[in-house]
């Protein structure tokens, strides 16, 4: 497959910006993420098999490990962003996060038993939590502010390729050697180590605050208060509300599975469909965000989620509906994941980029956790389809309202005025 990172389509002559390529640093960061995602997703995809069939642990043990996997990274995210801004060393904070995850893969080779595996997974996720915001800050500092959405699109596309390749490689190994868990762990370790090395070697250790100071800008010391300034607050508010109405792919897959024999047959693989759509739409939607307004694309991207809910609640269930639903979920991620980072980076206080991104991402992570929990209750109270329809209705009301809330930001994006 040939992937062009060059903007071939007509360039905006009026923009007066460095048009064209996405920085090679962003591509390198994408490759680092690709390798790291191969590493973590190859392990994650076989973890249930490994824990239950190889280690002989039970279902409940697996549920517990899975909970760790989902929950841990959100907590340390803010800390990673803060450390990055505080030290003015986004590269090395991110490096630390990647290195911790790589070390966890070493420990996985010797870990046996439930406690050891759970500890290793926790450490791995801690690393992910720490590195995400500084890594996104690095993407920001190495990108032209006018094409930030596209930069994040390129990064998220590569990231998703890794997330899709990981399980593929893992299951391919198990296909040849049914007990080849150690082989998967070794491949995972090799990819993790290479990712860390490429980051250390090829990504320049830029220090955003010092660079701006040398250009004569007065450094803005980090203040938690800075994260509450009006524009960023609006973004975080909107992202938080929308996250509350995001019920989690797992539930959507379950609804599909319950009504469509096709979805039931392919249940363990539905996430692949979502990933492929995410991969295909990450760059186009990132570019659309740069032109049409990141705030708008972020909010309207939830329209795809709304459509996915509608699809899942449709009284007909078949292959077409299932596939449409997966594509819509992928579009939703492509229109929101990288775009939110770009949006937060753009409106974060100067010299607090990583913290701003971390704040938005943490609120989204917590919001989704609450959303999924609340949806579970609703599912029980109102029934499967009704629960989906209720959340869909709430989302249909929230989208136009939040478009209004974020309107001042769209204007600011247009005129290039960012706080």
């Amino acid at each position: 497959m040939y992937i062009s990172f060059t903007d071939r389509v007509r360039r905006e002559p009026s923009a007066g910006r460095r048009a064209g390529k996405v920085s090679s640093v962003v591509v390198t960061l994408g490759v680092v993420s690709l390798l790291t995602d191969i590493s973590s997703e190859s392990v994650a995809s076989i973890l249930p098999l490994y824990v239950t069939s190889a280690l002989g642990l039970s279902t409940i043990a697996y549920g517990f490990i899975d909970g760790i996997y989902q929950g841990v990274s959100a907590v340390v995210r803010i800390g990673g962003g803060w450390a990055s801004d505080r030290a003015d060393h986004p590269k090395w904070v991110a490096f630390g996060g990647y290195a911790v995850s790589a070390l966890a893969k070493v420990a996985l080779l010797v870990a046996s038993g439930f406690a050891a595996v759970a500890a290793v997974i926790t450490v791995d996720r801690l690393g992910k939590g720490v590195r995400t915001a500084p890594r996104d800050a690095l993407i920001t500092v190495n990108s032209d502010s006018g094409t930030l959405g596209r930069s994040f699109g390129v990064h998220r596309m590569l990231d998703t390729v890794g997330a899709a390749l990981g399980p593929l490689i893992a299951f391919l190994i198990l296909f040849f050697v049914p007990t080849g868990y150690q082989l998967v762990f070794i491949v995972s370790l090799a990819c993790a180590v290479l990712g860390v090395c490429l980051l250390g070697l090829l990504v320049p250790g830029r220090r955003p605050r010092r660079e701006r100071a040398m250009l004569g800008e007065v450094p803005v010391p980090f203040r938690w208060r800075g994260l509450f300034q009006p524009q960023l607050r609006r973004i975080v508010l909107a992202a938080g509300v929308l996250a509350l109405l995001t019920v989690g792919d797992g539930f959507i897959y379950l609804v599909l599975q319950a009504r469509s024999p096709f979805a039931a047959l392919w249940f363990p693989l539905l996430y692949v469909g979502t990933n492929v759509a995410f991969f295909l739409f990450a760059i186009p939607l990132g570019r659309l965000a740069d032109r049409f307004g990141r705030a708008r694309v972020f909010v309207l991207g939830h329209g795809a989620l709304l459509a996915a809910y509608a699809c899942a609640a449709l009284p007909v269930g078949g292959a077409v509906v299932t596939v449409a639903c997966l594509v819509l979920l992928g579009v939703f991620y492509a229109a929101t994941d990288g775009v939110l980072a770009a949006l937060a980076a753009q409106f974060a206080p100067r010299d607090s980029t990583a913290s701003g991104i971390a704040a938005a991402q943490t609120v989204v992570a917590i919001g989704r956790l609450l959303g999924a929990t609340g949806f579970g209750v609703l599912w029980f109270a109102a029934g499967r389809e009704a629960a989906v329809l209720i959340v869909a209705a709430a989302l249909a009301i929230a989208i136009p309202l939040l478009l209004l809330v974020l309107r001042p930001l769209s204007v600011a994006e247009r005129t290039g005025v960012a706080a």
Binding site: G56, A115, A190, C191, G248, L254, P268, V272
Partner: protein, 338 residues
């Protein structure tokens, strides 16, 4: 270090690490395949061998070409004469002429299935499973089949701990997911969304069955009625029940840990007196127990010297005896009585 040197090192490291990992994988795969090729030939036995007497059907976990294949030994001489079939299962249970085989269908797109097999090992019915296989049972006359799998996808798709348990007729009639049955706990109807069921065992009347039900963090031994489609809570804290051949007692695993972690011990409940007897094995037993006869229990315990390898142990069901190693390199035992 200049940019050129960095790039050179990066390229070198990429070749070294990715090439090394690939080479290691290829050599491991070739080694595995040559070991496979070296020890074929023994796998000619059909599923129904050792007929004419009681036999124990199990999943072989010897770390060689027989790994994962269904095997059997005579129940009265389990140490000798292991016959290995060509059928691979993750979890297997045989009774009369019906065998249920839960399987991971490996491939680039890995899926899971439950299969009914005849004595020749031919699949007669199959159902897709929503995740990794867990437990399987067949009623004593071979007419009812129950199987449990996890509901798992990949980490993007997980929704926490969830299981799906189905009961089907061996002629293909589907009684559905136990989550669609009416659950009665302490006399009240329970409709909680977090209900999960696993580990079915059948009584001889082909209507009554027992299973594990879980909701709100508690596990229950539930008694099911297939005709009424109800599940009634019998007792808390009992998982993966197994009815004795005479139907008078139920063996199950029970969490006896006083800390946050889980430690399962095996217990036997007398259904007449409702008296519980604990087995003396101090190891963590995570299996659905099988009855060798009315006095003896069987279960698998993971070996410490190999990942994915276990042994089948036996213990007296009265709580007085010590566990004894019965079949090495084996899991998922089922006793076929003729």
């Amino acid at each position: 270090m200049n940019a050129r040197a960095r790039t050179t090192i990066a390229v070198g490291l990429s070749v070294l690490l990715l090439g090394g990992a690939a080479a290691y994988c290829v050599s491991a795969i070739l080694g595995y395949q040559s070991r496979q090729a070296a020890s074929t030939g023994a796998r000619s036995a059909a599923l129904g061998t050792h007929a004419g007497g009681e036999r124990i059907v199990f999943r072989s976990t010897t770390p060689d070409a027989d790994y994962g294949l269904v095997a059997s030994v005579p129940a009265r001489a389990p140490g000798a004469g292991r016959l290995v079939s060509g059928t691979a299962c993750d979890r297997v249970y045989s009774e009369a002429a019906t065998t249920v085989c839960l399987r991971t269908d490996r491939g680039i797109l890995t899926t899971f299935s439950a299969n009914l097999l005849d004595d020749a090992g031919t699949t007669t019915e199959a159902w897709a499973l929503p995740g990794i296989p867990s437990r399987a049972r067949v009623s004593s006359d071979g007419s009812l089949v129950g199987f449990t799998s996890f509901v798992t996808g990949e980490s993007y798709a997980t929704i926490g701990f969830s299981t799906a348990t189905r009961i089907v007729d061996s002629d293909g009639v589907d009684h559905g997911n136990l989550e669609d049955f009416t659950l009665l706990l302490d006399g009240e109807r329970n409709t909680a969304v977090d209900r999960n069921f696993w580990g079915v065992t059948f009584a001889d009347d082909d209507n009554t069955f027992y299973a594990t039900g879980a909701t709100g963090g508690a596990t229950w031994l539930v008694r099911g009625d297939l005709a009424d489609r109800t599940l009634t809570g019998v007792r808390r804290g009992a998982e993966c029940p197994s009815l004795s051949p005479d139907g008078s007692r139920i063996a199950y695993k029970k969490n006896v840990s006083t800390t946050g972690s889980v430690h399962w011990a095996v217990a036997v409940l007398d259904l007449t007196t409702m008296e519980e007897t604990m087995m003396t094995d101090s190891r963590n037993i995570d299996d659905q127990v099988e009855w060798l006869d009315d006095e003896t229990l069987l279960y698998a315990v993971p070996r410490t010297d190999g990942v994915g390898d276990s042994d089948v142990w036996s213990i007296a069901a009265d709580g007085g005896g010590e566990p004894a190693l019965l079949i090495e390199h084996a899991s998922s035992p089922s006793v076929v009585r003729e």
